[in-house]
């Protein structure tokens, strides 16, 4: 089952890119984790970032989201250059991300985790806290209502008042996504959203990700499970040894012997075995 519209152009250079990077490099004490990665993410689509372990996928996500500074290269969100921006500035510009290993705000309740993500909160200013309690109260109520709706969608409503550290692994994965969505992202980077998740929940998560696309969110997801990639991603970027090896649709990439040799071959065998 494929949701890819066959009439859509594949490596869409015609659609303006939502996110673009060129010549990204990052070395950790001599190990070149990322070594000239360059690609662009088409607006409003789901793009998969795949590649063997150690290809530099998470490092790329960390650099794009500002969590890590690149050694060289440039990054753009739409037309705006974001090279060297810190995380919070990137996030305020509409790019939100989730983490490979869930990073919940453990001492906060599930609802508070979502509320923290609400953009443009007047209540983060001390002056407003002291002088404009009415404004803050109104905003909090609106944000809480929206957060509760999201928690319902993501099946966490019952756990709204639970400290996030007490959630199960799968629930934490759901919380990661719900929290990022609460931040009203234009672009969402999902770092292995399906890792360590049971098969039934994988399909549920896949459904959520497709729903986000329908809402107009551009998505880049790091994913190892090619079945998932085939089902929900429009576009694939293959990373190997820190470089962009190929881009295109998964079906086309399967014909690319270089890609198959570097990565797909073994994994395809493995996935067809089960």
């Amino acid at each position: 089952m494929s949701v890819v519209d066959p009439s859509r152009p594949a490596a869409s250079t015609s659609v303006s890119p939502a996110l673009r990077c060129e010549g990204l490099t990052k070395a950790f004490q001599g190990v070149h984790a990322v070594n000239g990665a360059a690609f662009s993410i088409p607006e409003g689509q789901i793009t998969a970032l795949i590649g063997p372990n150690g290809a530099g996928k998470t490092t790329v996500v960390n650099m794009l989201s500002g969590a890590m500074k690149s050694d060289s290269g440039r990054m753009f969100i739409g037309e705006t250059e974001t090279t060297g921006w810190p995380s919070h500035k990137v996030a305020r510009h509409g790019l939100l991300r989730t983490f490979q290993l869930s990073r919940e705000l453990g001492g906060l309740t599930v609802l508070e985790n979502l509320l923290t993500a609400a953009p443009n909160q007047a209540g983060d200013s001390l002056v407003n806290v002291l002088l404009r309690p009415g404004l803050i109260e109104r905003q909090e109520r609106e944000n809480a209502e929206r957060a509760l709706q999201l928690l319902e969608v993501y099946g966490l409503y019952r756990h709204r008042d639970t400290p996030a550290r007490e959630l199960s692994g799968g629930q934490k994965k759901l919380l990661e996504i719900a929290r990022a969505v609460m931040g009203s992202p234009r672009i969402l980077l999902l770092d292995e959203p399906m890792a360590g998740v049971n098969p039934a929940l994988i399909d549920v998560l896949g459904g959520y990700i497709r729903d986000l696309k329908k809402d107009g969110v551009t998505i880049l997801m790091v994913e190892h499970n090619l079945g998932v990639v085939e089902q929900i991603c429009d576009h694939v970027i293959v990373l190997a040894e820190g470089r962009t090896l190929a881009t295109g649709r998964l079906a086309d990439l399967r014909q690319n012997t270089e890609v198959v040799k570097a990565y797909l071959g073994e994994v395809m065998d493995a996935s067809s075995a089960d």
């Binding site: 953009p119 200013s125 001390l126 319902e152 549920v204």
Partner: protein, 346 residues
Amino acid sequence: MTYYVFTLVFFLFDYFILAMGLNIQYGVTGILNFAYIGFVAVGAYVTGVAAMPSNINGEHYILGLGLPFPLNTLLGGIAAMGLSALVALITLRRLRTDYLAIVLISLSLVLYDFCNNYVSLFNGADGLYNVPEPFAQSLGLGANGFIVFFACLTGVVSLILLFVMRRVMRAPLGRTFRAVRDDHVTAAALGKDTFRMQLKAMMIGSFFAGIGGGLLIQFGGSFNPTAWLPGETFVVFAVLIVGGAGNNMGMFVGALLVETLLIHLPAFLPEIPGHPGLIEYFDLALVGIVLMVMLWVRPQGIVPERLRRTPSFGVTPKLDDEAGELDRTTALAGVKVAVAGTEEAR
């Protein structure tokens, strides 16, 4: 007797204020401020020199503004806050946790040596004395009357500050502080400028430290380096840990148990025969033991941080949605069927 009781009452309220300040820094935002007593001292000194006239009995003090009560103490609070902003700008951008703590404890020692030796600032080891007692003359209070009055005044100040602190902690700002404490990487990924947030927490907490220090110097009328040995910071930490980090009421309970009962009460107990002065030295040992026992048995403190539940955000949750959860479970079951179906088709 009145004197003893109200001295204890004063220290209860004053340490309640100090603990609230450290709580917003460490308990809520997670900044290990091991220089806390330094900010208390700056508040005390600045309040002192702001309160005193420029010339007492031929002695000159810097500033010497002769300001009346609330103004001089406010100035002390603002001075401590200003210093904390400077310290935060230097340290908080690059350091966290243990490394930050090491730098801050060094700062505390440097500040201490500086004030102790640079006599023309705050009179070195002799410190400040003859600091005016607020309202003592205008109300015609005697020594005991002043103690009672000032202990009550400190209580009123602590209630005002509690009101302010509650508002900060219940606001989105307080939540963001806790987010920074729990995981600063996540907080940044959600659009929070973690440095600015820590700076704010440092400044709010240090303002409280400065006010607490200002009250301290006016209560005793004098202040010198023996009052703020860098180790004093850990007494405030003990108040915080015993009371319950993250909870304002915990700060009151901690101040009552640690500062009032363990630190100050023993000084009023009769001497142990044959060992004059020994009993004074029991206090810190007792604090250490209590701290260890607490961390072992109840690390969250006597009054732990409270969870904020849904209704406190002004929304009424639906009566628990067993039906909704049921839908979810059916949906999951449906998915399972679908998955099984695809596998069969393969």
